[in-house]
Structures are given as structure tokens and as C-alpha cells.
């Protein structure tokens, strides 16, 4: 099953590589990984998407907790949560395509953030599924470049992950 693990990490040099190392050394997979500083300069927040049986996820959580730089973590998929990913897509947009691309972007609530005579760059936010849906709706020929941020997320309700 797919799990989204959200981690508060000491903002120390090498902390990220400890997490990455753990996954490769123990043979766990990482589907996506995002990391950025938080409002507290001493902490980074890392969101990690992984797959595994319950036993594997239990080990992943325990092993992560064992890392000295990990302050706190939560498996978002254990409760209700909001998940988002940002995608920037550069597509061909000339002639008749231009209007079609514009329509498609609005259907997916995308925003056009850069324009040339021949291309649009579209910004899209949503769950991974929605972003996949947009890519699938495009004809491959029209697709010039895709960049995705990786998944980030937050738990629903009043509970918050903080130190």
C-alpha cells in the first residue's frame, strides 16, 4: 500500500542523506521525496511517499525514528489528510492547438505561467492522480517537458505535527 510519511528533521548537514541512505541500505523504495525548511529554522520538513506491506511500513517508521536527526514523524495515510503536488508542463501551443491547450488547462484548473508563440507553460496543483490525468489527456506529441515537485501533505483536523 502507498504511504505518505511526513518527517520533522534536524536542519543539519547530512540529515537528508541519512534518510535516503536508510532507504537504499535496507532496500525500501522511495516514490517521491520533498524537503524544505520550516518556519523554525532548526527544522526541515520532509515528505516521503513509499510502498510496502504493513510489516515493511512498520519497519520503515521504526528505522526512521531511530535516526538521531529525526525529531518526529507521522504516517499521514493512517488518518485523513490533504495531499498536493505541483507540476509544471511545457506544451506545444500553436495554431488550433493554442485554444485547445488553454481549454484543457482550465478544465484541470491549471494556470498558464509562461507563453511563447509556440508554447505554453502550465502550472497545475493537485493529487498525483489528477496530475497523471492531465498528462494522459494531452497528446504525447504535444508534451515538451514535465517537472513535478513530488508529493507533500498535511493531516486534516486540529492535530498538527510540530515539536
Amino acid at each position: 500500500m502507498r504511504h505518505i510519511i511526513s518527517i520533522l528533521l534536524e536542519n543539519e548537514a547530512g540529515a537528508l542523506s541519512r534518510v535516503a541512505n536508510l532507504f537504499s541500505a535496507r532496500g525500501y523504495n522511495i516514490e517521491s521525496l520533498t524537503v524544505a525548511p520550516t518556519e523554525d529554522a532548526s527544522l526541515s520538513r520532509l515528505t516521503l511517499v513509499t510502498q510496502g506491506t504493513d510489516e515493511i511500513i512498520e519497519q520503515i517508521v521504526k528505522q526512521l525514528n531511530k535516526l538521531i536527526d529525526v525529531v518526529k514523524l507521522i504516517d499521514l495515510t493512517e488518518g485523513a489528510y490533504v495531499e498536493r503536488e505541483l507540476m509544471l508542463v511545457k506544451v506545444k501551443a500553436s495554431g488550433e492547438q493554442r485554444a485547445e491547450m488553454h481549454r484543457l488547462a482550465s478544465i484541470f484548473r491549471g494556470r498558464i505561467v509562461d507563453v511563447t508563440d509556440a508554447t505554453y507553460t502550465i502550472e497545475l496543483t493537485g493529487t498525483g492522480d489528477k496530475l497523471d490525468g492531465f498528462i494522459n489527456a494531452l497528446e504525447t506529441d504535444n508534451l515538451l517537458e514535465v517537472v513535478r515537485s513530488g508529493v507533500t501533505g498535511i493531516g486534516r483536523g486540529q492535530k498538527a505535527l510540530h515539536v
Partner: protein, 580 residues
């Protein structure tokens, strides 16, 4: 007063009560060596190879329970130490490694003797640090000792660039350290402990299975009390030997691949298993699908990630062994709870039947030295009191099987990583911790040659150890597997062109002895141990084709042991062939 980084390091080590530092100098650590030179409190032991430094510090830590300290230079100093660090990591040994690094400005420039020490050691340390600012140095060292010694212990490396050792700052050593991200649980959950006691008492066929965690946490006293109170059989892992006295009738021997028949059969047939400070290692469990099929399992361990990693357990208890066991004892005593004595005596009758098989019996002969006999004689001559270290292979198993360890920290070996070369420097480290005790390195002609140079360190510091070399001219364990599983194709397992170990010992200033007749074993041992202040290298020429029995072949279950002279071992199944 402001001190240099190098002076701060020395002061910190004093504050931590460090007696010995095992190390080797080099460019990046010259300031530190200079600071060590002008003081007397901390004694530096100059090894002959950095791997030896790490093993010696490790042996010192295992024997004494204190933290082993290592000091090496950048680049090859660190890479040479890596095997020693990994050895300590796999067996959870408290160790602090100080490594020199090129100056901060040169980091990343491929400077002379530069290596990414923090990166290279990351997978084999509990934690590591790169100190880039002298003002963080003292606190980092405090943290390193705190992390290395608490929770599940392990090695911590501090990488210190040369400019940091020269820079000056005010020295303040923090009295206490608190880390928001590191706070190991030591006290077991009361509800879980209660549940565990109930399950324990409901058992018809119980067994305690305990490991190195009992020794690391100084939990032996509580373990003995609980075991005697219950009257249950107990088995120890290779790492756990000595935590419960081997000569006690409740002890059924070591378990696992080369454990006793009774220990493995009792494990296989038990209905309640209490695992304490043990981690269900593959050498212990054999085939997981066949492991303890009827058992409900209680697992006490300080490391949550050890629990339910290989085997799902019914009652996990995270905590320090002595604390959890004393809580259990308290419940048992206060409520005057009693196990099922009737079921227990039937269970003991069954165990005694397994015991009667005498799985450690071997063929005696007066023609050739049987390696097992050497260990038995060693046990007699040292009255079971010596500290024994070993290398890795057949001799290690024989030492574990035939020397009966009655106290914790008496048996020192590389169980997790299985590092050949560990035994000699570890023996030296143990001798530093206990100069008045006999320390013996049981080894083989393969292993000893991996760290032979430390004979020189042993000479320099007058730390006499006794070396029992079981010389069968084979890499015995490799040969044994090739005999069983590769139709006797002895690929690269024969040791040709061996040195004359007697002369070699003498060349290093020690005493060498060659023993090739069974009748001479005892006399030679007496003679060697009478030389209190000399290192004696005893080269025993043993039966080249002796095998370690009993044995669970790779991929087998604990009830599928092969016994010496009774079972023909021909092959294992396909799945077993890919296991190590």
C-alpha cells in the same frame, strides 16, 4: 581561558573519564597528538594498523563496559578503521571514534588524504558528526558519548578538520545533554509487563532466549534471578553467552546454527518464548517459516526496530533489560505467582531426553589433536576464569561450545559482522581493561594473519595475552561448507605457505610453542599460563578435516539439526544454497 580545539578534545576525554585512546597519528591529527603529548591522564596506545585500533577499543569496551575511544587520521586512517567500526556497530558496542579531516577550506577539493569520512561511515555508525566550528566541539563530543552509551549502544564518529583543532575558544563542557530528537525508552510499559508475566506463567513449555543486550545493559543479575525464580530452561545466543552461567543446570547451551540439540529442540517445541535483548538473527532462527511454530512470543528490547523485524511477536516490551526484568520479578514476588510446576517438570524431562543425545560429543583420538579438546583443556587449565576472545570461523564456534562462560563480558567475539582479525587486538583491549586477568585469543591460522601486526603493539605495552591457534591448514568453516554443499571442491580454502608461527612469535619478542600431539596439550597450556608476563603463541596442529557439529544446514529449521557421526550431510535444498 581559551583553549585550542586539540586541547579541548583532550579535556573532553578527561571529563568523560577516558583512560585509553587507541590510535595512529597522521597529518590531520598532529595538533591532537601534540595535546596528548603534554599530559599524562589519558594514555594513548599506538597500534600498528587503524583497524587494530578500532578492534582494541572494541575489546576494551566489551570487557569493561566502558566506552572504547579511537583516534585516527583522515583518509586512509578512517578507511582502515571502517571494518572495526562496522564490527562494533553490528554488535552494538559503545565507541567514540575521533577522526582527523583536511582543513575546512579544503573539504571537497580532493585534498591529500581527504575522504568523505562522514559519508563512508554513515551506514555503520549509530551517528556521526562533522565539526566545522571549534565553538561546537565540546558539545559535540558530549553528544557523541551520550549517543554511544545510551539506548542501544553503538559507535559514533566525530570528524574534525585540522583547522578546527588549531582554532581557539573558551572551554565549557556541558554537564548534561538533552536532545529533542533522541530520547531512548528505558522503562518498560507496566501493562505490557503484566501481560508478559501472565503469559509466562500460563506456559507449559517455556524457554528464555537471551542475547547480547543482556550483557550490554548489565542485566545479568536480574536475568539470573528471574530464570531461577521461574525454573525455566534458558538458552543464550553467541553474543549472549555468559549472561547466564553456562554451568547452571537450567542452561541448555547456545542455540542457533551450531547450538546444542537441546537448545534448538526446546526452541522449536516451546509454547512460550521470552526473547530478551536478542534480535532473531538468521544464525539463530534458521528458516523463519519453520521457526518456533507453536510459540507465543514476548520480546524485551531497548531498540523498537528490533521488535517484530524478522519474527512477529505477541507481547513487545521496549525498555532496558534490567529495568524490565526487575519489574517482572517484582510482580512475581509481590503477588506470589507460581508457574505451572507440573507441566514444567514434564517439559524438563523432555529436555533431558534431548540433552542425553550429547550433541557436542566428538571422536577422541590420541593420534591427532582434536580442536574441541584444546578448548576443553583450555577451560580446565584456566578454571573457566579467563577472558576469551575469538576470531571468526570454526575455532569461534568451538570456543563458544566448549568453554563454559559463567559470567558476562568473559566472551568477546565478532558475532554480527563476523570479522576475521578481530580476536588479537580485542584481546589486547581486554587486557588493558583487566591487566590482572588471563586473556586468551582463540584463533585460527587464517584469522590471525589478518591482524598479526598487533603482536608488536602487545609487546610495546606489555599487555601479555595467550594465543591459542587452532591450526588446521584450512579456512575451516569455508572448507566445511565446501565439503557439505559443494561436493568437496575446496576452492581457495587451503592455507599453503604458512609462516613458522613459533619463529614469528619470537620475532615479535614473544614466546612461541608448537603442539602437535594430544597428550601435550595440557602441559603446554600450563606452561604458557605460568608465564604471566609473556605473550605466548600456542600453535596447535589440529585435525584438518574436523567439522563443527551439531549444525542446522542453511535453510533448515531448528528441529533439523545434523549430529556428528550420526547424520550424513550431503546437500541442502536450492533455497538453502543461496543463504550464507
Amino acid at each position: 581561558m581559551e583553549l585550542t580545539g586539540a586541547e579541548i578534545i583532550v579535556r573532553c576525554l578527561k571529563e568523560e573519564g577516558v583512560e585509553y585512546v587507541f590510535g595512529y597519528p597522521g597529518g590531520a591529527v598532529l595538533h591532537i597528538y601534540d595535546a596528548l603529548h603534554v599530559q599524562q591522564d589519558i594514555k594513548h596506545i599506538l597500534v600498528r594498523h587503524e583497524q587494530g585500533a578500532a578492534h582494541a577499543a572494541d575489546g576494551y569496551a566489551r570487557a569493561s563496559g566502558r566506552t572504547g575511544v579511537v583516534l585516527v587520521t583522515s583518509g586512509p586512517g578512517v578507511t582502515n578503521a571502517v571494518t572495526g567500526i562496522a564490527t562494533a556497530y553490528m554488535d552494538s558496542i559503545p565507541m567514540v571514534v575521533l577522526s582527523g579531516q583536511v582543513p575546512t577550506k579544503l573539504i571537497g577539493n580532493d585534498a591529500f588524504q581527504e575522504v568523505d569520512s562522514v559519508g563512508i561511515t554513515r551506514p555503520c555508525v549509530k551517528h556521526n558528526f562533522l565539526v566545522k566550528d571549534v565553538t561546537n566541539l565540546a558539545e559535540t563530543i558530549k553528544k557523541a558519548f551520550f549517543i554511544a552509551t545510551t539506548g542501544r549502544p553503538g559507535p559514533v564518529l566525530i570528524d574534525i578538520p585540522k583547522d578546527v583543532t588549531a582554532a581557539k575558544t573558551e572551554f565549557v563542557y556541558p554537564k548534561k545533554i538533552k536532545m529533542r530528537s533522541y530520547n531512548p525508552t528505558v522503562k518498560g510499559h507496566a501493562g505490557q509487563i503484566r501481560k508478559a508475566v501472565d503469559l509466562l506463567l500460563s506456559a507449559q513449555r517455556p524457554i528464555l532466549y537471551t542475547g547480547g543486550g543482556v550483557i550490554l545493559s548489565e542485566g545479568s543479575k536480574e536475568l539470573v534471578e528471574l530464570t531461577r525464580l521461574l525454573g525455566y530452561p534458558i538458552t543464550n545466543t553467541l553474543m549472549g553467552l555468559g549472561a547466564y552461567p553456562a554451568t547452571d543446570p537450567q542452561f541448555v547451551g547456545m542455540l542457533g546454527m551450531h547450538g546444542t540439540y537441546e537448545a534448538n529442540m526446546a526452541m522449536h517445541h516451546c509454547d512460550v518464548l521470552v526473547a530478551i535483548g536478542a534480535r532473531f538473527d538468521d544464525r539463530v532462527t534458521g528458516d523463519l517459516k519453520k521457526f518456533c511454530p507453536e510459540a507465543r512470543i514476548i520480546h524485551v528490547d531497548i531498540d523498537p526496530s528490533s521488535i517484530s523485524k524478522n519474527v512477529r511477536v505477541d507481547i513487545p516490551i521496549v525498555g532496558s533489560v534490567p529495568q524490565v526484568l526487575s519489574a517482572m520479578i517484582k510482580v512475581l514476588k509481590e503477588e506470589k505467582l507460581e508457574p505451572n510446576r507440573k507441566a514444567l517438570s514434564a517439559w524438563w524431562r523432555q529436555i533431558d531426553e534431548w540433552r542425553a543425545i550429547e550433541s557436542l560429543k566428538y571422536q577422541h583420538t590420541d593420534k591427532i589433536i582434536k580442536p574441541q579438546l584444546v578448548i576443553e583443556k583450555l577451560y580446565e587449565v584456566t578454571r573457566g576464569q579467563a577472558i576469551i576472545t575469538s576470531d571468526v570461523g570454526q575455532h569461534q564456534m568451538w570456543a563458544a561450545q566448549y568453554y563454559h562462560f559463567d559470567r558476562p563480558r568473559q566472551w568477546i567475539n565478532s558475532g554480527g559482522l563476523g570479522t576475521m582479525g578481530f580476536g588479537l587486538p580485542a584481546a589486547m583491549g581486554a587486557k588493558f581493561a583487566f591487566p590482572d586477568q588471563d586473556v586468551v585469543c582463540v584463533t585460527g591460522e587464517g584469522s590471525i594473519q589478518m591482524m598479526l601486526q598487533e603482536l608488536s603493539t602487545i609487546k610495546q605495552y606489555q599487555t601479555p595475552v595467550k594465543i591459542v591457534n587452532l591450526n588446521n591448514r584450512y579456512l575451516g568453516m569455508v572448507r566445511q561448507w565446501q565439503e557439505f554443499f559443494y561436493q568437496k571442491r575446496y576452492s581457495m580454502s587451503y592455507m599453503d605457505a604458512l609462516p613458522d608461527f613459533v619463529k614469528l612469535a619470537e620475532a615479535y619478542g614473544h614466546v612461541g610453542m608448537l603442539i602437535d600431539r594430544p597428550n601435550d596439550i595440557e602441559g603446554a597450556l600450563h606452561e604458557a599460563f605460568a608465564m604471566k608476563d609473556r605473550t605466548v603463541f600456542m600453535d596447535f596442529i589440529t585435525d584438518p578435516e574436523e567439522n563443527v557439529y551439531p549444525m542446522i544446514p542453511a535453510g533448515g529449521g531448528q528441529n533439523e539439526m545434523l549430529l556428528a557421526g550420526r547424520d550424513e550431510m550431503v546437500s541442502t535444498h536450492e533455497e538453502g544454497m543461496i543463504l550464507v
